[in-house]
Amino acid sequence: MVDWHPLKRWLFTTNHKDIGILYLLTSLYFFVAAGLLALTFRTQLAIPSNTFLQPDEYNQAVTTHGLLMLLWVLTPLGAAFANYFVPIQIGARDMAFPRLNALSYWVYLASGLLALSSFLAGGGTADWGWTTYAPLNTVEFSPAVGGSMMGLALMLLMASSIVSTVNFLVTIFRLRAPGMSLMKLPLFTWAWIFTSLLMLWAFPSFVSALTLLISDRTFGTVFFTSTQGGPLLWDHMFWFFGHPEVYVLLLPGFGITGDLLSTFSRRPLYAKKIIIPCLAIASILSFTVWAHHMFMTGISQSLLEAFNVTTELISIPFAIIVIAYIFTLRGGSIRFATPMLFAVGSLGLFIIGGITGVFNSSVALDTAFRGTFWVVGHFHYTIVGGGLTGLFGGLYYWFPKITGRMYSERLGKIHFVVYIIGFNLLYFPMHLLYDMPRRIFTYDSSLNAGFYIGSLFVGYNFLITIGAFTFGISQLIMFANLLWSARRGPAANKDPWGGYSLEWGVPSPPPEFNFPEGVPVISATGVTYRPVAMADGGHADAGYGAGSHEEHWSHWPIVVAAGSGIALWGLLMSLPALLLGTGILAVAFIGWGRETLRGRFSEPIEAVGEKWPFARLENVSLGMWVFIFGEIAFFGTLFGAYVFLRMNSLLTGFVWPRPGEVHNIFFGGFNTIVLLTSGLTMVFALTFARRGSYRGLQGSLVATFALGAFFMVNKAFEWRELFAGGFTFSTNTASSIYYVLTGVHGAHVVAGLTALVYLMVKALKASSTTQAAGAVEIFGIYWGMVDAVWVFLFPLLYLL
C-alpha cells in the first residue's frame, strides 16, 4: 500500500479496500461482544432455577445479543466483503462516492459505540427483546433512558445503511467495466444488489417505527400508549421491516456460498439465469409475508391465511436456488478446502432452517410454536447456518487476497468440524423445546425436557449450553489461525482457488487502485486490460491504476460521525454535549462542502475520462433518485401509520378532529402555496442555470430559500398557536401524528435549506453557470420530493 502515516490512513481513508477492512475488524469485534452476551444467558439457562443472571440482566443480554448480531455484526460483515470486493468484481477503481463510503463506516462505528454506551446510561439498556414490542417499549413500562439511547443508536445505524445502499446501487449500476454485463456479475455482487434494494425499501419502515417510538419516549406523543395505535401499530410497522430484514441477513452469505460451490467444484454455477430472477422474486415476496409473525394476534383470520400462503410461496424461489446449488456440484472435481467446507455447511444448515420455516408458515401449527424455542432454532439455522456460515466461508476464501498470505488449512478444517458440531448441539435441541417459552430468564424442572443416559438426566437446555460454548470456542480457532497467518502465513499467489470473479486476476493484496494493468475488458474469452490515460493526468503506463492519493482520504467523514454520535448521546444525557455535537456537525458539513467546492473527489471513477463532468453528475443524480426511493418508503410507512390510526379511531370511538376543528385550513392552504411556489422558483433556477443567466440563477435560489424559510416560520407559528390552544404532542393520536408528520417533513425542509446555502455558494464560485446546473438539477429533485410529500400531508392533516 501507500506509505502514509498509519493514523492518517486508517482515520481518513476513503479507499474501499481499507474501509472493507475497517468493517471486517469492527463487525468481528461486535461478534465477540454479542457472542459473549449469549454465553452469559446460556450459562443462566444451562440448569433450572439458576441465579447466574438477574432477570433484568438476562433481558438486557438477550435484547442486545439480538440487536448487535443482526444489525452490528451480520450485515456489516457482509458490507466488509462488499466494500472490499464489489468494486473490484465490477471492474471499478473505487466506489461511486468514496467519502460517503467512509462516512457509512464511521457512522456505523459511532452508532455501535452509542449502543454499547446505553449499558452505562443508568438503569441499563433496552431489555424488551430485539423485537421491541409495544407497549413494553414505552416509558411507562421501560423508563430507563438506555432504551431510548439504543433507539437513537439504531437510527444512526439506519442512516449509515441508507448512505451505503445509495453508494452501492449507483456503483454497481454505473461503474461496471466494459463487457461486464449485469448477468456476468458473480453471485456475491448480485446478492449484494438485492440486499441493498431490500435495505432501501425495508429499513425506512424501521426508521418510521423508531421515529414514532422515540417521539413517544422523548416528546410524549401517544402512538404506542393509545388504544388507536398501541401494540398492533408497532407489530405491523416493525415486522414490515423485520421480515425483509431476515433476507438482508441471509443473502450476502448465501450468495458467497453459490460462488464458492462453483469455484471449488470447478464447474459453472447451475442455472445462474434462473437463480438471479429467483432472488428477485424472493426479494419482492419478502414484503408480502410479514404477518406470519402475527399469527396469534387475533386479527382477521382470512388475512392471516393469505399470509400463510405467501409465506409458503416464498420458499419456492429459495428451493430452486438450493437445488441449483446442489446441481452445481454435478460433474465437478470438488476440492474440500476450508471455504468449500463452510459453503457446504451453509447450504446444508440452510436447508434444515428452510424446512422448519415451512412448519412456521402454518397458521395452525403456530399455536404451539409461537413464542417458543422452536422459533429460536429455526431462525438460527437460517441466519447463522445459512448466512454467517457463508460469510465465514467468504472470510477464508478472500483471506489470501486481502493479506497476500495463506491461512493454515489444517486449522481451518479443525475450525469447521468443531463449528458444525457446536452449531448442531447448540441449535438442534431447540426444536425439541417447543413447549418452552423463549426469553424466560429461568425455568423449573417441569420445563426441563431432556433424556436419560443410564440414570443421568441430561436436559436439552444443558446440551444447548454445551453447544454454545463449543460453538464460541471454535471461533477462537479461526481468530488464532487468521491472526497468525496474516503475519506469518506462506505467501499466496493471485489466484489460489481458480476463481471466476475479477479479484482473482489482480495481485494479492490488490494495489491501491485495483487494476494495475489497465481497464479490465470482459469478453467471451476472458479478461484483457486496456491501459487508459486518466483525465487527472495519471500515468499512461499505470493506466487505469493511477491517480493521485488526493482521491483517497478526507477528514470529514470521521468528524461527521463523531459529531452525530456526541449529539445523539447529548440529546438524552447532556445539553452541552448536544450543542457540542451539533457544532462539530456544522463544522464538518461546512468543511465537506468546501472540500467539494475545491474540486476534490470530483474526478470520475470510471476510466473514460472524456465524459467529465457529466459522468460524475449522472452518478450523483442516480444517487439522489435512489435516496428518494428510500424516502418514499419512509414517508409511505408514516402515512401507513396515519391510516392505521385513523381507521382504528372509528373502531375505538375516538373521534378524529373534523376539518377546520383544530387546524386553520386556510392558513395551511396559504402555507402550501408558499411551499409550492418555492418549487416553481427552484425549477426556474434550473432553466436560468442552463441558459447561463447568472442573475436569474442566484435570484431564483434566493427566492426558493426565502420561501422555504417563510414556510418554516409559518409552521413554527402554527405550532405555537396549536400548543397554546391545548393541542400538544400528548393530546391524542391525531395530535401526535400531526406533529410527527409535519415535524419530520419540516426537518426535510430545513435540511434542504442548508443544502441550498451550499448551492448558492457553489453558484457564486462556479466558473460557468452551466456547470452549476448539474448540482441545481439534483437538488431540484430533492426539493420536488419535499413538495410532493407536502401535497399529501396537507389534505391528510388539514382537509380530511
Binding site: 432477570p55 433484568d56 433481558n59 438477550v62 414490542y133 407497549p135 413494553l136 413500562f141 388504544t227 398501541g230 401494540p231 398492533l232 470447478r266 459453472p268 454455477l269 447451475y270 442455472a271 445462474k272 434462473i274 396469534m296 387475533g298 383470520q301 391465511e305 400463510n308 400462503v309 409458503e312 410461496l313 419456492i316 430452486i320 438450493v322 441449483a324 446442489i326 454435478r330 465437478g332 472435481s333 470438488i334 476440492r335 447450504l347 436447508i351 424446512i355 415451512v358 412448519f359 402454518s362 395452525a364 401449527l365 399455536t367 404451539a368 409461537r370 413464542g371 417459552p437 423463549r438 424466560i440 430468564f441 417441569s446 481458480g498 471466476y500 475479477l502 482473482w504 479490465p520 476472458g526
Partner: protein
Amino acid sequence: MPALAPSAEQWQSLFTLYIIAAVIVGGAVFVMFFYFLAKYRRKPGTAEPKDAPRVGVMEDRGNPALAAILTALLVSLFFGLTLNTFALNAFLQNPPNDPNALYVDVIGFQWGWRFVYPNARELVGELRVPVLNSTCTPAVRGCWSGTVVLNITSADVFHSFGIALLKIKRDAIPGRINQAWFVAEKVDIYPEAIRCYELCGTGHALMIADLLVLSADNFHDWYLTGP
C-alpha cells in the same frame, strides 16, 4: 400419549403430516447433496472439467425447466399441507355454538394470569374448568359441556397466553379481546400448564398458572361456593 383434548390431537396429526413431508423432501435433498459431494470429489490425476470457471469466464449451464418442475412439485405439496392447516385453523378459531360452554375472561398482567368467571368469581394463577361431558348436549340445560371459551386480554403490556399441553395459544393484547377455546377430555391437575409466551418484563418467566380439570360435580360445587 393419551389424548388431553381434541385441539392437541389434531395439532399432533397435522404436525406429523408436516414431519413426514419434511423427512421425505429433506431426506431426498440431503441424499442427493451428499451423494454428489462424495461422487464428484476431486480424484488426483484426473483433469479439471472443461468448463471450469476462470477469471472472467463462466459458461452458461443448466436447464430452466428445473424452476418449473420444482415450482409445480412444491405448489402441489403446499396445497395439500395448506388445506389441512386451514381445516385445523377453522377448528381452533371457531368455538362451537354451545349454550353450555363456560366463558372465562383471562387477563394477563405483570406478572400473572387472572381468571374471571361468569359469576364474577376470580382466580389468580389457577384455571379451573369442567371436564368434557358428552351427555350435556345443547338441548339439555343446566350442565357444563366442558367447552371452555376464553376471552383473553392484558391489563398492561403485550403478553401471550398458552397452554402447551392442549396446543392452545393466543396473544393477550391490551385494548383487545382475543378468543380461544378448548375441551379437556380428562380429569387431572396440570401444574404450571399455562405460561406466557411473549417477553413482558422481568417477570415473564414467572407468569405461570395451573390448569385444573375437574369432574362436572366438583367443578359445579366449587363454582357455586363463591364469590
